[in-house]
């Protein structure tokens, strides 16, 4: 079944992720408007990047209350893989599908550049094409990517192996200098306890084409395509 990409007013990476999904799976995803109340049959739901509702109020806060999000939550709880990228991560956090919040970058500035990511979990449906400890080069582009969780939550994330990606240097070392936004523990992406919901600030769909400078993001979409085809 094709993937579903949710489109909010102000989404702007919906087409980019659709291109990556189609390149990996050979099938265009279904584009689902936020005012729908039901999802088409699909084995993967993607909440794309952008500025839903202009990021007014708080990034992701208003989109989290869109009609479609009730259906997304129900499917997430039923085990369907849900991938939130950038604004999608912010929306999933605001919707309570992932713990913690994304605050304004420590620099207080928007940051767009390639970063190195260390794969902390290679046993999820999203990351199965990577190996644990592998370093990926993928871009970030956000103003509010500074992940924060209280100490108890952070402990739970660590104990449960829910940290999927960390910002690191090219050698895979997790350093303060490699952290583009001030995220606690250099966290770039997390999964829920069940492992079927991934939120990440970096954009794997932006480096999934050799002409654009890299392909480290492509294996995520290939792995997902294989998983949903199986």
């Amino acid at each position: 079944m094709p993937a579903a990409v949710i489109v909010f007013p102000g989404s702007n990476c919906d087409r980019d992720v659709a291109v990556a999904l189609e390149a990996a799976s050979g099938r265009p995803p279904a584009m689902v408007w936020h005012q729908e109340s039901a999802l088409p049959p699909s084995d993967l739901i993607v909440v794309p990047g952008g500025f839903s509702y202009g990021d007014y109020l708080r990034s992701g806060a208003m989109a989290a209350h869109s009609p479609i999000m009730r259906a997304v939550t129900a499917r997430a709880n039923a085990g369907t893989p849900v991938l939130g990228i950038c604004n999608g991560f912010q929306i999933l956090a605001e919707a309570g599908l992932l713990p913690g919040i994304l605050m304004r970058n420590a620099s207080l500035k928007f940051v767009c550049r390639d970063v190195d990511l260390r794969v902390e979990r290679a046993d999820t449906v999203f990351t199965s094409a990577y190996t644990q400890g592998e370093v990926l080069r993928v871009p970030v582009a956000h103003h509010d990517g500074n992940y924060f969780a209280d100490p108890d939550t952070l402990q739970r994330l660590q104990d449960g192996g829910q940290i999927a990606f960390r910002y690191c240097d090219a050698g895979g070392n997790v350093t303060a200098a490699a952290n583009p936004n001030g995220s606690i523990e250099n966290i770039a992406g997390i999964v829920n306890a069940a492992g079927n919901v991934l939120g990440m600030m970096p954009h794997p769909e932006r480096l999934a084409d050799p002409l654009l400078g890299g392909t480290d993001g492509a294996p995520m979409f290939t792995a997902l395509a294989e998983a949903i085809a199986a």
Binding site: P9, G10, N12, C13, R15, D16, V19, A20, G49, G50, F51, Y53, G54, D55, Y56, K109, F110, V111, C112, R113, P139, A141, H143, H203, E205, R206, D209, L211, L212, G213
Partner: protein, 735 residues
């Protein structure tokens, strides 16, 4: 005077003579609203009254041109039934008063100009000029403008892929913010602004109208004095989220056949959009002011007509298509209101409470717009300065590190990392190189684009400076391997009522025209910003050029960084060591003096055509144009841009020739028409250059880790890179 009533005390920026013409047109005293409409329509910003005579001399035709100047943006054929639609526009005055909103709405305005014509915007660029880094306002203005440019472009999801940032004390009181948008449309789906046909509904869509930006166009047509900050209420406020919705809604409606004409509400808002649609369509328009969606209560017709509230469009639809169109705009949660109708009166008529509150004949409002032949004096020629007249440094390396570590040539990474330059997934060549290259979505071809101007050259010799701005933009587009197609220009000058300023404009337009002609790169759109003066002191003349080119296969594009060690480095073009008006001269003497480097347009073209062919044939591995700072800086930039290899070393160069001219002239001379290229097939480069009759001299080899210029010590590339990256973040953090 044809009227006995006393003149209003406030002519709203109109001259006495212009007011007399209005009395003749109206046959009566205009009321306040009518006078406001004349004032904005005849402002310098909207009427181009000082520059029109000279703009008409620019070449605007070519087989590739679908639409030249006069519409919202220029349209150029890029093959396969597709067109590139682009324009550059200034938002200088507002950005000085309120940098974030001024810059943001500049981006929003130029985006609308492009999608009004049916194009999906695919790239933004800009040209920014700030005052001296020492000036107390500069840091605040840089921070605000960069955040504003990014804030708008990032949110709407159009990548900001290129531009310029420079500093000079002449911009202390008048910064320049020029924003450019490039879009792509189908050649059979291009929309124009002529409202042909009577009895057609006139529809307002987008945001509601508020009291912001009233008389912004008039403000942009006057000098600043010390009270500039008090003009803050004339600055508009941008909402990129609404513009994103407007973009998607307009493109959705444009996919149907409902639209007769469409025009964005930019400068002079509802006034200029309705007047232009009526004028171009040769019809009249009646607008019911009460039906205009309003953000505030109690707004007068004057305020509504002159508001520059953002994110609004005016459309003329085919009758009966209103409901279908309304549904689209309601889906995107935007206002949609039928506010008027076209008629055969030839007048712009405003109804307020059922009564006519303004009634102006459109043809004379447009045709009688003033056009001045302002007196001008040519810029006196300056002597040519020989390289040997300027001292040689004790060590070339010290000059090099000072230049690349200073405000003029330091890395602009701090700026472009605040811009999302990758969204839309087609940015093949990112910022920081010569031209950006954006793939045409779903194809293998691409559009290359760059903005350029060297104001110190223009000031020294407007004709050469005008030629150079075109040539450098053309060269940058060529340097990635693309074929330049056309340019858009943004003429930023001081007060045109001063003959020496007018002379700068006249000269640079002449130079631009010559270069556009010689390089087959016509002007298809543009903007003029005059009165960039504060207390009688004008900016350096800054005629910015934005160039767009096409490349059949983006996989063949070449970037500027060195790729591997052991490759031969060539200079394409002739090196004479021209130091007049160079950065080297300014560094050594503290002054910019003498004649600027001349542009040999014939050589420019031959050299560029050779480079393009070499890239198409896959012979070059890197290519970079030579501009500010000359060869030494160009080579250094190629080294600094190289990636550190796994062993940790960047790629440097060993330049192993002995120049036959003064070494400092060879290293830092700013002779035009040159490129530095690398190749692993040097014989092929030499043979092709010989066949084309183009000078191509092998000057050295790429090596690991260090850079060695003639008679200098080796310098570590890593150190150069660190130095180059440091200045701007340190400067901004120091505030």
């Amino acid at each position: 005077m044809s009227n006995t009533e006393p003149r209003p005390e406030d002519l709203m920026g109109l001259s006495d003579g212009e007011y007399d013409t209005i009395l003749d047109i109206m046959g009566r005293t205009p009321n306040f609203t009518e006078l406001g409409i004349f004032s904005v329509m005849w402002s310098e910003h909207c009427s181009y009254k000082s520059s029109k005579k000279w703009l008409k001399t620019l070449p605007i035709d070519g087989p590739q041109v679908i639409q030249g100047p006069g519409e919202n943006a220029g349209v150029v054929d890029i093959g396969d039934g597709q067109a590139a639609i682009f324009k550059i526009e200034s938002h200088n005055h507002p950005s000085f008063i309120e940098p974030y909103q001024g810059a943001a709405t500049g981006v929003g305005g130029i985006l609308r100009d492009v999608f009004t014509m049916g194009a999906r915007p695919v790239a933004n660029l800009n040209a920014l000029r700030f005052g001296s880094p020492d000036h107390p306002k500069t840091r605040h203005l840089v921070g605000g403008v960069v955040a504003g440019v990014g804030g708008y472009g990032n949110c709407i999801g159009v990548p900001t892929v290129g531009g310029e940032v420079n500093f000079d004390p002449s911009y202390n009181g008048n910064i320049l913010v020029n924003a450019m948008t490039v879009g792509i449309a189908s050649t059979d789906k291009i929309f124009y602004s002529a409202a042909a046909g009577v009895g057609l509904p006139v529809v307002y869509v987008g945001s509601k109208t508020g009291r912001d930006g009233i008389h912004g166009a008039t403000m942009a047509s006057a000098e600043f004095a010390d009270d500039a900050d008090e003009k803050r209420p004339t600055v508009q406020v941008g909402d990129p989220f609404t513009e994103k919705l407007l973009l998607e809604a307009c493109l959705e409606l444009m996919a149907t056949d409902a639209i007769v004409a469409i025009q964005d509400m930019g400068a002079a808002g509802l006034t200029s959009s309705s007047v232009e649609m009526a004028s171009k369509g040769d019809v009249g328009i009646e607008l019911d002011i009460d039906r205009v969606p309003q953000r505030e209560t109690g707004m007068s017709a004057y305020e509504i007509m002159l508001s520059e509230s953002q994110e609004r469009m005016l459309m003329v639809l085919h009758p009966g298509r209103e409901d279908m169109a309304r549904k689209i705009f309601e889906k995107w949660e935007l206002d949609f209101a039928v506010i008027g109708v076209t008629n055969d009166s030839g007048h712009l008529t405003l109804l307020e409470g059922g009564e006519t509150s303004a009634d102006i004949p459109v043809p004379p409002l447009v045709a009688a717009a003033p056009e001045y032949d302002r007196p001008w004096t040519p810029t006196p020629p300056r002597p040519v300065i020989n390289a040997t007249e300027i001292d040689a440094p004790d060590d070339l390396g010290d000059v090099l590190t000072a230049l690349i570590g200073g405000p003029e040539l330091c890395s602009r990474r701090w700026v472009w990392e605040q811009y999302d330059h990758m969204v839309m997934g087609d940015t093949v060549v990112r910022p920081g190189g010569d031209a950006a290259l954006v793939r045409v979505h779903g194809t293998g071809k691409g559009l290359a684009m760059a903005t350029d101007c060297s104001p110190r050259y223009v000031f020294a010799n407007p004709i050469e400076g005008g030629r150079q701005a075109v040539a450098e933009a053309w060269r940058n587009v060529t340097a990635v391997g693309a074929t330049p197609l056309a340019v858009t220009n943004n003429l930023n000058f001081g007060n045109p009522e001063r003959p020496e300023i007018m002379g700068q404009l006249v000269g640079s337009v002449q130079g631009m025209g010559e270069a556009c002609e010689a390089l087959d790169c016509p002007v298809v759109s543009g903007n003029v910003s005059l009165y960039n003066e504060t207390n009688g002191s004008g900016i350096l003349p800054t005629p910015v050029i934005g160039c767009v080119g096409v490349m059949a296969d983006v996989a063949k594009a070449v970037t500027s960084e060195f790729k591997a060690v052991g490759e031969t480095i060539f200079v394409i073009g002739e090196t004479q060591g021209w130091l007049g008006c160079s950065l080297y001269q300014r560094h050594m003497t503290g002054d910019v003096a003498g004649a600027p480097p001349p542009v040999n347009l014939e050589a420019e073209r031959k050299n560029g055509d050779l480079v393009r062919h070499l890239i198409a044939d896959g012979v070059l591995t890197a290519c970079h144009d030579v501009s500010d700072g000359g060869l030494a800086v160009a080579i250094t930039e190629m080294a600094m841009a190289s990636e550190a290899s796994e062993k940790g070393a960047e790629i440097g160069a060993e330049i192993n020739i002995s120049p036959d001219i003064a070494t400092h002239g060879w290293a830092f001379g700013e002779d035009q028409g040159r490129y530095v290229v690398t190749s692993s097939a040097p014989e092929a480069v030499s043979a092709a250059a010989a066949a084309a009759g183009v000078p191509a001299r092998a000057i050295g080899m790429t090596v690991a880790a260090t850079l060695t210029l003639p008679s200098t010590r080796p310098i570590s590339v890593a150190e150069l890179k660190a130095l180059n990256e440091r200045w701007l973040p340190d400067y901004m953090a120091a505030g």
